[in-house]
């Protein structure tokens, strides 16, 4: 295989073997970014349906209560939380602040994200 930079090597972005936590953050950020963008446009299309009238909306609410959809909802919210919290780190370090602490920041923010995801999980699946 060619060793020079090539767009075909894009899969190596997502290969964290032998890499440091910075790469994990990079991978997570990139995957959640792609996922959230896809969700954003799907969401817009779905909303278009909803605007059509009450019967569509009620259908949707019934649909949204399916466990599969709920898992999807959890995934989207989790992605959002992770992307947002890591985004804070990227914004801070990207402006030259606390670059030395980027690893610590990542660890603590991801703990926070886990907590947030847990709360969302409880709210979606246990409190309903």
């Amino acid at each position: 295989m060619s060793n020079r930079p090539s767009p075909l090597h894009f899969w190596r972005w997502f290969d964290p073997r032998a890499r440091q936590v910075g790469t994990w953050a990079f991978i997570i950020n990139r995957i959640t970014a792609l996922g959230l963008t896809a969700y954003l446009f799907i969401h817009l299309i779905v909303l278009g349906q909803l605007a059509l009238g009450p019967q569509y909306y009620d259908q949707f609410i019934a649909f949204a209560k399916l466990p599969v959809v709920k898992i999807g909802e959890l995934a989207v919210l989790a992605a959002g939380i992770i992307h947002a919290l890591n985004g804070i780190r990227v914004a801070l370090t990207g402006l030259g602040f606390a670059v030395r602490w980027q690893k610590h920041m990542l660890y603590s923010l991801m703990c926070l994200a886990a907590l947030g995801i847990f709360v969302v999980f409880v709210k979606l699946f246990l409190l309903d």
Binding site: F10, P54, Y57
Partner: protein, 124 residues
């Protein structure tokens, strides 16, 4: 040497916009959840709820702001991933136009939706 992907125009302002819009989305989303929670305590479970929700004038403002920020943030972000794939100048130009078209379409479409719902809510 200086660039093999001419006119990518990746620059300070674009980067700053990406960062700032990200932070704003964070706040607007927080606001959205807060308002959502305060205005409609049980959640938007029926169409009537939604319509009622939109009678509050702050809601469409928040929603549209969120829409514009989220669409631009995501497309600028995806574009910087595309740049990493070393597109040729022509391909990049094409992608840029696609993104601009997609972005503006999404925003107009979203605004249209908000107008429809608001018009029903206020009975105009």
């Amino acid at each position: 040497m200086i660039s093999s992907s001419p006119k990518s125009r990746e620059n300070a302002w674009l980067w700053l916009y990406k960062i700032m819009s990200g932070l704003l989305i964070f706040f607007v989303l927080g606001l959205h959840f807060l308002v959502n929670h305060l205005v409609e305590k049980g959640g938007l479970l029926s169409y009537a709820d939604v319509v009622h929700y939109y009678t509050n004038p702050i809601i469409p403002v928040i929603e549209v702001t969120f829409l514009v920020l989220a669409v631009s943030h995501s497309l600028i972000g995806i574009r910087s991933i595309v740049l990493d794939l070393n597109p040729s100048g022509k391909v990049l130009q094409f992608i840029d136009w696609c993104f601009i078209a997609l972005g503006s379409a999404a925003i107009f479409y979203g605004i249209a939706l908000v107008i429809i719902v608001v018009s029903r809510a206020t009975g105009v």
